[in-house]
Structure formats: C-alpha cells, structure tokens
Symmetry: C2
Subunit: 454 residues, 2 copies
Amino acid sequence: MLFLEKFFNPKSVAVVGASRTPGKIGYTILENLKYSFNGKIYPINPNAIEILGLKAYPSVLDVEEPIDHAIIVVPAEIVLKVIKEGIKKKIKVFTIISSGFSEIGEKERELELKKLCKTSRKIRILGPNCIGVYKKDLDMIFFPKKRLKRPPEGFISFITQSGAFGSILLDIMANEGVGVSKFISIGNKVDIDEIELIKYLEKDLSTRCIAIYLESVKDGLEFIKTAKRVTKTKPIVCFKAGKTEKGVEAVASHTGALAGSAQIYSAAFKQAGIIEAKSSEEIFDYAKALANQPVLKDNKIAVVTDGGGFGIVATDTAINCGLELPSLENSSIKALKSFLPPYASTKNPIDITGDATVERYQKTLEIVLKDKNVSGVACIALMQIPTLTDEIVDVLKDCKVFGKPITVCSAGSDYVLERNRKLERLGIPVYPTPERAVKALKVLYEYGKILKRK
Amino acid sequence: MLFLEKFFNPKSVAVVGASRTPGKIGYTILENLKYSFNGKIYPINPNAIEILGLKAYPSVLDVEEPIDHAIIVVPAEIVLKVIKEGIKKKIKVFTIISSGFSEIGEKERELELKKLCKTSRKIRILGPNCIGVYKKDLDMIFFPKKRLKRPPEGFISFITQSGAFGSILLDIMANEGVGVSKFISIGNKVDIDEIELIKYLEKDLSTRCIAIYLESVKDGLEFIKTAKRVTKTKPIVCFKAGKTEKGVEAVASHTGALAGSAQIYSAAFKQAGIIEAKSSEEIFDYAKALANQPVLKDNKIAVVTDGGGFGIVATDTAINCGLELPSLENSSIKALKSFLPPYASTKNPIDITGDATVERYQKTLEIVLKDKNVSGVACIALMQIPTLTDEIVDVLKDCKVFGKPITVCSAGSDYVLERNRKLERLGIPVYPTPERAVKALKVLYEYGKILKRK
C-alpha cells in the first residue's frame, strides 16, 4: 500500500523518453505533467539539455535528488535497461507506457520484466502497454488537452485494461461534467493489477465508486474474495469485454491475456457483489449514480415528468426491470392537486405537463420525496421549455436533503447540455433517455440489496 | 394527398392566437415561422395591430387574401369557434397546437372536433395537443431556437405522438448534425394520423427513412397493410411506448388513447416489415443509418479499430446479434501486412492500433471494403489521437463509393464532437459506443432481408 501511495502521490517524477518534439508522446506527457503535478519533474533524454523549460538529464542516474516515480515511454527494446538503471537509482515505482510486449507476441520480453519485478522485491510496475494514471494533480495521459479534455474532480475511480476505452471515457466525463478521483490504465499488468488497486481504492476516501473495464482476470478467486469484502462498503461496477469466442480471441491479440466465458464472469460478479455493466454505456451510467447518490432502499420509485411520452417510457422501463410505481399517499395527492393544473396527472408517473415551472417542480419533488410510499425518483425535465429557468438546477440539487436517490433525464443541445453539466458537478446524475435514468435507479436498488447481505 | 401537400407546402399561413408577449407560445411560433417560411404570414389577434412587424387581424375572416394553413394556439374552449371561422374563410388545413382535449378527459370537445372534420369533408386537422410541423422552410415549433436548436436538412422524416419526445429528438439531431426532412407531431390525431402520413412520406423524395414514435394505433390492420407496402421501398423504424400495463395506463392519461400489449405490437411490426426500436435511443440510432446507408446484404462485417478494447466490444456485440466477422481474403491480408506495423492485427477485428494515421485508415478501409468476404464495416476511430488529422472525415466519407454500409464509433468532447457532426452531415452515421455502431449495421442487415421478401 505504501508503494501505491508513492505511485499516486509522488514527490518527484522522471519522464524517461521525454521528447523535445511537440506531438510526440514523450512531449505531451511531460507537458501535461508540468501543468498538473506540483512536485519535481525530471525529463530524461540523452540528447536534450532542457525540455519545456525543465532541465533534462541523460539518465535517471544523472539526477542527484531522489525520484519517486518513473514514467517510461522509450521503445520496448530498452525498457528493461531503463528499469535496471531505475533500480540502481532506488526508484520504487514505474509506469511503463511503452507497448511492444505480450500484446504483440513478445512474451519473453514481458516475462523478463515480470522476473525483474519479482527478484527485486523493492519495485512496483504499472503496465506496460498502458496510458498510466490521471488524477487532477498527476496527469500522465499522452493526449493533448485540446483533443481530450480532463474531467473535474469527483468520486469515481476507474481501472481500465484498455487505454483507448479509458481515455475516451475521460473525455466523455469531461464533456458531461462528471467527476473522477483516480483513473488507472493497467495495460498488460505484469505487476500491479485490478485486485491490488481495488484494495487501495477501498481505503481511499475520495473514491466512492470503483468502475472497472476488464478483459481478463488472472487470479479469479482472489478477485472475488477482494471484491466481496470491498463491495460491503463501496460499490464496484464492472464491464467485461471479450464475452464471445470471437471476442476472447480478440482479447488475446490485444493484451495477450486469456478471457473466460460470459457466464462465468457474470456468476462471479454476482457472488462478489459487483454490479455488472452489460454495455460500455452502462459502466458510466451506473458509476455516476453509485458514486453520487444514496441507495434505493426498496423497489418503489416515482417518475416525475413534464413530458407525457417520456413518463410512459420511464414507466415501461421501471416495470420491465423490476421496479414499482406505487400510488402516492392520499395526503400527497391532495397536496399535489392543490397547486397542479387540472390537466396534470397525480398518478404515478406524475405528469406535471409541458408548461411546468421551476416552482411546480420544486413543490412536486418535495411532496414526492417526502412520501412514505416512494423511495426514489426518476425526474424527467425538458430543459428546453421556456418556463424552466436556470433555478431548476438548484431545485434538483436541493433534493439531496431528502436522503432518497434521484436521477434526471434531460437531453438536447448546448443550452440543455450546459445545465446537465452543472447538475453532474453537483452530484445529480443526468441521462439522455428515460430508460437510462430509470436503470440507474435500478442499480442503486441492486447495490442496496448487496449492502444488506450478511 | 393534395391536402397534405398544402399542409407541408402552404403558400400562406395564419397563426390564430399569435401573441405580442415574448415567451408566449403564440409569439414564439410566429417568430419561428417568420424566419423560416417564405410565404405570407397572418397573425390573428383581436387586440393587436402588428406583431413582429407583421400586420395582425382580429379574425381570419378579416384577411382578404386566401389562407392555406391555419395554426391554432388559442385556449381549447374556443378552438371550435376558430375552426368554424376558418371553414367560412375556406381554409383547408389546420394544425391545432392547443391542448385541453381527450388527454385531460375532455372527450366531448374532441368528439365535436372530429365531427366537424367529418361533416365538412373539406378540411383536414393535425392535432390537437401537438407541436405541429417542422421542416427547414416551415418551422412552427414553439421552442425558441436558443433553447432548442434546429437540425440540418436531411433524409429522416419523423412522426411522433409525443411532442416532448419529438422536440428533444430535434434538439439532439441538431446537436449531432443529423438531418431531418419532415417532422410531424400528431398529438391526439383526431384526423390526420400516422397511416396517412406514412402514405404521404412514401412518395416524398426527400424522405429516405420514416421514424415513428407511437403510443397507440387506431386502425391496426390498415397500419400493417400500409407499412407492408411502404417498407418494400422505404424503411420504417418504430418505437412503441406504453408496453407494460402501467405504461398503458400512462398512455391513457397522456393522449387519451388505448395502447396494446408489447407482444402484439412486436408481432405486427415484424409482419409489416417495420424495424422495431426497443428503446428511445434505438429509434434515432437506426433511423440515421437507414436514411443514409445502403443495406448490408448478408451478415458478414468487418470491424476496423485503432483501439483494441473497442474492437473486442464490437466483436462481442456483432456475434451476440447474429453478425459474423469472417477472415479477409488472403490477398487482403497480404495487402494489409504490406503497410501495417507488425504489432497490428489483420484478423477480423482489424486492429490498426493506437498510432494509426489517416493514411493507415484509408488504405485499410479500401482493402476491407473491396474484400469479397466483407459486406459492411463498423469503423472505430479514436479521434483524440494526435496522428488522426481532420482528413479522417473525408476518408470515411469517401467510403461511400464502395457501395457497402459503414457505421462509425467515435465519442468524446468538443474536438471529437465537431468531427462527428461533420461526418453526420456527410451521411456517415456516428455512435458513441461500439455496441451502437454494430447494432446499426445489424439493422441495415435486417432491412436488407425485408427488401428481399416477396
């Protein structure tokens, strides 16, 4: 664990393979580190004196001060040599961005790396063939910021076996305003793997949900055992790629790992209390609900909508996934009727109609969230409606005081997306369709059941 | 049909209930018409002399010139009176935006409207309780453009029983750059319904795919009969809301219509050759593929990707939905190997790896699309990669010459979304996940099978 602490919070970092050429990976990483990391940065490049205003060194051995964490972007052929120099320099933690190992059939090279890690029990390696770590104050992602935005700080930590999948997710999170705590690309995982990271994140106060994109697990039993313990206090949502025979083949040529059957994984996830995402969309949808909302204590929800059609679709989805839409208490219905127009519907789904104002939403949500028959709300808001002023964001945010989960369905273009971003930043998960907003509630119910297990 | 022609292409339009107050529906409709419609516009308002620079009239009867199409936004109580005046004025076509009919239990009022339509066989009504029509040169959507953007011109025509659903879809289409031909909100459909509109759109040259959001169908047999004929030349994709008992109840209180069971609708759609969208996301995903891409002649596709993980997910999806990923011809594999780096994979999924250039995409796509074993391609492109310059857009567009369908998976934030928009405008459908890009190909295969039916 101390190792991993050094990994996420180093005091000094070396970039071995730092480049002077804009556009090169070794340049972009250095640039992104420079503008995120507060500690000392040492570019390592035998042909440079200075890069991006930082003094460069021919080798880590030429640096006099201690180095906590080395990020390696040199060609695969010289990675081992670099690590050995690092060991001499007493560097404990290495992130190997370089590809060219088992994923292209270079198993021998990867095995040597593994051996090195085992014999010298003093070093830890992330990767190879990964895109490293992203956190607000440690950005080693090799994409320039103008091409790939960085998300705000938040409570989701994301472990990914695919760098591409992970990097696009970061960009989507940035676009939607969803916060990330730690992002870790594990690549071929010669050393640090998902199990160890889950253990670390279990204790990490800023992580409230662990999301994992997996292609393979080496130690299935240990994975289940660990997850079983962690999910008692922290939700884990997992998406498994490589579920079909053909997909499993593709995994082999991607990270050189062996994937198992879909059924085995699903059963294992269930046993471990892991929420399974069945698509790449679901992992993100679920993680943002689990990280930011309380659990749904039973399957009883209300749908509040200003669009009748969306209310119907939300209802269909809720019923089909095992949720119920109970009638509200008589007192609630009475209270709703006192201010809603006669053409509104106080049945669940509650349709406050297309001329709904922020005030109407506020009063309705308060009544519904205080109702004893209701344990959570899927709120559909057509932000395009002129009567819905910006205050809707605060009204939805303030729903948190009722201690019941809320998810929001809202979609459109710039005007709407800006409001959605504000909501996400305030911890209210927003979905572009009623189906996805309701399924997120369903997952909050599922996690509630997992928490109740002995 | 002539009636409907007047409906979509009137020479003059009256807005009965035009308002002088910005923010009011009667104001916004007038404003949007003014900036879209090239014919004469007559605001009708007994208290105004002029609105938005247009001369206003107390009643349609005070207008001397002929009026082709009246858009009605007055309170429900006086709609009948207005229609009667319109009949006197010899107006043939009415769009009733006003709500306050069967959807709130005012069945009698709706019945009178229906009677009026039947007895005077010379008028046609769209609505009530709808948001009317949108096409580039006839915009009667009551949302201001700064809140709800308008999509570019294109080949999808959309019929919707829910105004809210429809309006959000317009906004999403605008955001993604997906083109619309005609958008029609049918509301309570006292007169003009989906069947008649399908018949009209069948002959409409600018419509290449008909997308329908349905809550209920009055004449099921006629609907099936019509769709069966139309789908022989034009694809129809349909999303049915109100599938569960609870959802059906919600339909009743939304548009006052009676919905049927999910199974009945699914079977009917199948018989009619209609592609069924199982979620509100799918209707849009499928429509843009069907409107812009050729059919997939058999189930054999290739996946081309620069991200290994995404390739795996695409493969899983393809296999699970009945598509195959055949090996390429030997000559193709040889050709690919001549320029791809050794760590790329020429097996299908074809992984051209994270350092792919535009040139690499171009050569690969050309070889794959010319390959006899392959009938269509799902192309995954991480647009964030610095090596992928803007020319990727042209490369993907140029794939059209091979006559095989292509769908693209690309997601992220501003930088990527701008490229995606360009692609959509060029008729290349783009999806945020590999699953959705592959399922769109699947639907192109399904429609191909429908076309082969006798």
